[in-house]
């Protein structure tokens, strides 16, 4: 800890330099797959974030839609209006490129929110299970074991169905996105809880935890401020891989018609709509959302794979 004696600015700079020269960044700079994956994820994230600025049309404003523009093939001028659309239009004359941007927004929002929620629930329950032990631990891990025997997508579907049943009909479309987030999060928290518990059980008996206990720190403080920072790297890996799974789960549920409502179409909803035009030859309505979804899921997955290897000291 030599930085402490230097001036704060220099300390900051040397921290940055230290980070830049760390094994972590080195492994990133030497992995072309990780660089490409991060680039794709970054582009898609920015596209989703600035969708209202980038999108040439507002697909959800009926005033700007012209039914005459329906089924315009990508890049060709429409027979009636002579308007050209980069990726074509769907049956209602909506610009496919714009719907994808807005769809991406919803897919990413649902995916990221679900993973964050799953992470919060999983980390807390995992820490409590490891730290408190006893019947609390048995109860939490038993529930986790039981849930793990059911496929996550089925759990999410069941939770979605049950929550939909309990929501009053007039709020169902409005609440669908939130219900979707909760359903995916509750189907996914087990991964976090198991990993956190495993790692925390090891950390729990280390000297620094004993020292913290000796000076009288409370249980929650020890868990959150002492143990948690030391087990963050596996949590980060699980979160990245979970994000890919959550995006695919959301797309699957929306594709099945039990996810995002038609008023807020995600990529899965767009693919569901596009499937209807597969036989009549309007391939672009299906193709472009599907490719976007694949690029997103695959890149996040590859990034997760790289992260797992990079953060695993055994593989260095």
């Amino acid at each position: 800890m030599t930085e402490v004696t230097q001036k704060p600015v220099e300390a900051k700079l040397s921290r940055l330099a230290e980070f830049w020269n760390s094994d972590f960044v080195w492994s990133f700079r030497h992995s072309p797959v990780a660089i490409v994956a991060l680039f794709i994820v970054a582009v898609l994230l920015l596209a989703a974030l600035f969708a209202p600025l980038i999108a040439p049309h507002d697909p959800f404003n009926p005033a700007t839609l012209n039914l005459m523009n329906g089924f315009t093939p990508p890049g060709e001028p429409n027979a009636f209006t002579q308007e050209t659309f980069l990726l074509g239009t769907d049956d209602q004359g909506r610009d496919v490129f714009s719907t994808i941007l807005y769809g991406l927004r919803i897919s990413l929002f649902v995916g990221i929110s679900a993973v964050v929620l799953a992470m919060i629930v999983g980390v807390i329950l995992g820490l409590v299970a490891a730290y408190v032990g006893g019947w609390t631990e048995t109860l939490i891990m038993r529930i986790a074991d039981v849930q793990l025997t059911f496929p996550a997508i089925l759990v999410a579907m069941l939770i979605f169905g049950i929550a939909k049943g309990f929501t009053p009909p007039e709020y169902r479309d409005e609440m669908a996105i939130w219900v979707l987030i909760i359903a995916i999060a509750l189907s996914d928290w087990v991964q976090f809880a198991r990993v956190v518990r495993g790692a925390a059980l090891v950390e729990k008996n280390r000297e620094y935890v004993q020292a913290a206990r000796m000076i009288g720190r409370s249980g929650p403080a020890i868990m959150m401020r002492h143990i948690l920072p030391n087990i963050l790297s596996p949590v980060l890996v699980i979160a990245t891989i979970s994000l890919a799974l959550a995006i695919i789960a959301e797309a699957t549920l929306s594709f099945l018609g039990v996810g995002a409502p038609p008023t807020q179409p995600s990529l899965g909803t767009l693919i569901r709509i596009g499937q209807g035009f597969l036989f009549s030859g309007e391939w672009w309505i299906l193709f472009f959302p599907a490719v976007t979804l694949l690029a997103l899921a695959l890149s996040v997955n590859l990034l997760g794979d790289w992260l797992r290897d990079a953060l695993n000291p055994k593989l260095r």
């Binding site: 038993r142 039981v146 025997t149 059911f150 496929p151 997508i153 089925l154 579907m157 069941l158 979605f160 169905g161 049950i162 939909k164 049943g165 309990f166 009909p169 695919i248 797309a251 699957t252 594709f255 099945l256 018609g257 039990v258 693919i271 499937q275 597969l278 036989f279 391939w283 299906l286 599907a290 979804l293 694949l294 899921a297 695959l298 997955n301």
Partner: protein
Amino acid sequence: MLAYVIRRVFQSIVVLLVVGLVAFSMFRFVGDPIDNMLGQERTQADIDRLRTELGLDQPFPVQYFKFLQGAAQGNFGVSYRQGRPVATIISERAPATLELALVSGFFAITMGIALGVFTAIRRRGIAANVIMTLSLIGVSLPTFLIGILLIYVFSVELDWLPSFGRGETVKIGNWSTGFLTASGLKALILPAITLGLYQMTLIMRLVRSEMLEVLRADYIRFARARGLTDRAVNFHHALKNTLVPVITVTGLQLGSIIAFAIITETVFQWPGVGLLFINAIQFVDIPVMAAYLMLISVMFVTINLIVDLLYYAIDPRLRIDGRTA
């Protein structure tokens, strides 16, 4: 041994009771069952009579017990949407799902083992590497996109196979089968591949890695030293010893096939139980949802119980853990 079995069975029963409670709460608290069953023209007397008839005036635990009793006898009430008993609807739909699951399971196991052995023996060959790369892509594709891709290639472009439905079916008693007609068999191909592909790659990778490990073992070297043919070594000595983990994984995947059938059935409009469940969620048809929930839980809990008990019987190391856990 006995204590472990009893505890494991007890756990399974607790899980089923909890799932039953969730299913029952859906029945009881989502909307008013009386509203759902009686039309607009009803008198207070009608309502009171139906309330007593359905036992809704009794305390909650009694109602719950009655619900479980009914569920155990296959009585899940009447579908809100179709107005027919749920048990009848499910028994009509079950053959479609079971036949699909059977065929895709068969496809997954045979192709998985065959390709797994092939990629292990020809580890450095071009074909094996192509198969391994393709399997990686296949795993990361969502199931519904695989289905759509197959429909596009084989139904839209080539026009070889039907893209939806079961084709013609033959009734044998209460069982409608698609195995006996040409159109029924043709209709099975694409959904079965879609459903089985993920499990196939899983089995393939498992067989491959197990084979690679076994092929390095001493007894394989001795078998070769004895001058046995490659075929005898690969299939009689090596493959046999890789099958134990394959069997357990396959058993555990059985439930997944039924669960993922929901997706496949939606893509191909396959008239099975999964499609029924998706439609039930869309229209909030509570009795059908509750019945499916109970059915799938019983299935999963039973499969897991059997696999756990089998492990216990096979692997003596677990017995020590069983005592302390």
